[in-house]
Point group: C2
Chain length 176, copies 2
């Protein structure tokens, strides 16, 4: 019998390309037949957490990995969604900090050093670098992927490109 937990069990020492490819493959299989966004983002945060922890490189020092979603009652606010890591800020204004910037511009933010980002919101003093990728459905941001790393330069254009594929998959397969 194959257990669900095996979907997020990764061997150590993967390249980023290998890790994200497995995430996309497993996410596609898990989301088939389940369009509830809470369920799918919960599993996606587990997949990303375990995949990036297995990568040979600074990205394995991720210390927070999850999602914020647009408040259905106030489209100018992001609300904390499913994640893996320490407790985080419950809400962020669109336009504020790294998450808010990505939501406002609909563009991925790769931040090599969060202390140099104007208006950075520190939920955890251990976070040194960050990537935020908007999830766009029907030309509107519905949520964002947010990953923090406890090392500087945790993320680069490769993460951006591969996480945008995950964001597209989520937009196509989940009802928000």
């Amino acid at each position: 019998m194959v257990h669900h937990a095996e979907a997020s069990t990764f061997e150590q020492g993967l390249s980023k390309a290998q890790a994200y490819a497995r995430v996309l493959e497993e996410a596609e299989a898990l989301f088939a037949g389940q369009r509830n966004w809470v369920s799918n983002l919960s599993n996606a945060s587990s997949l990303l957490h375990h995949a990036l922890k297995s990568v040979d490189g600074p990205v394995s020092a991720i210390n927070w990995c999850g999602f914020y979603f647009i408040n259905p009652l106030n489209h100018q606010e992001l609300i904390l969604g499913p994640f893996h890591g320490h407790v985080a800020c419950q809400s962020i204004k669109v336009g504020q900090g790294v998450c808010g910037a990505a939501a406002a511009t609909m563009m991925t933010e790769v931040v090599p050093n969060v202390d140099e980002f104007p208006g950075h919101i520190a939920c955890d003093s251990n976070s040194k670098s960050e990537i935020v990728v908007p999830i766009i459905q029907n030309s509107k941001v519905v949520a964002i992927i947010d990953i923090d790393c406890s090392e500087l330069n945790g993320f680069n254009s490769e993460d951006a490109q591969l996480l945008e594929k995950l964001a597209n998959l989520i937009a196509e397969t989940c009802d928000f």
Copy 2:
């Protein structure tokens, strides 16, 4: 400046009573001013994960900690909610397995050995014991707390009693 992440930073070697008392205290503070259930259950799964990992005892071997919620489109189905751990089953029928039993009976299930529970659903072959606590709002189950442990006898009546307090807090403070 106090960061949110400190809410889920626990010293090692706590008693269960100490760990759960901190969880309740931090949850109450975090939920104040935020009634969105996704946000609050996401932070609660982080609090529980980090708190129980710090306890001196078999419960520190928890390998999954999170929530399932009643499908708003089908009240006979639980859907995977926010959690910490490996990827899990996306949906469970009310009445099926340990989670489904707690949802059907509206009673906490403490299972010392999951292999002896009739119809147990194994999302992870590492899980040996389990506790499931229903969250009851307006006399109906809206969600359940589900925690798995990789050791037998991970949970007892003390966990049940203290998690029921958390379930009550969630029912009082979150809009489902």
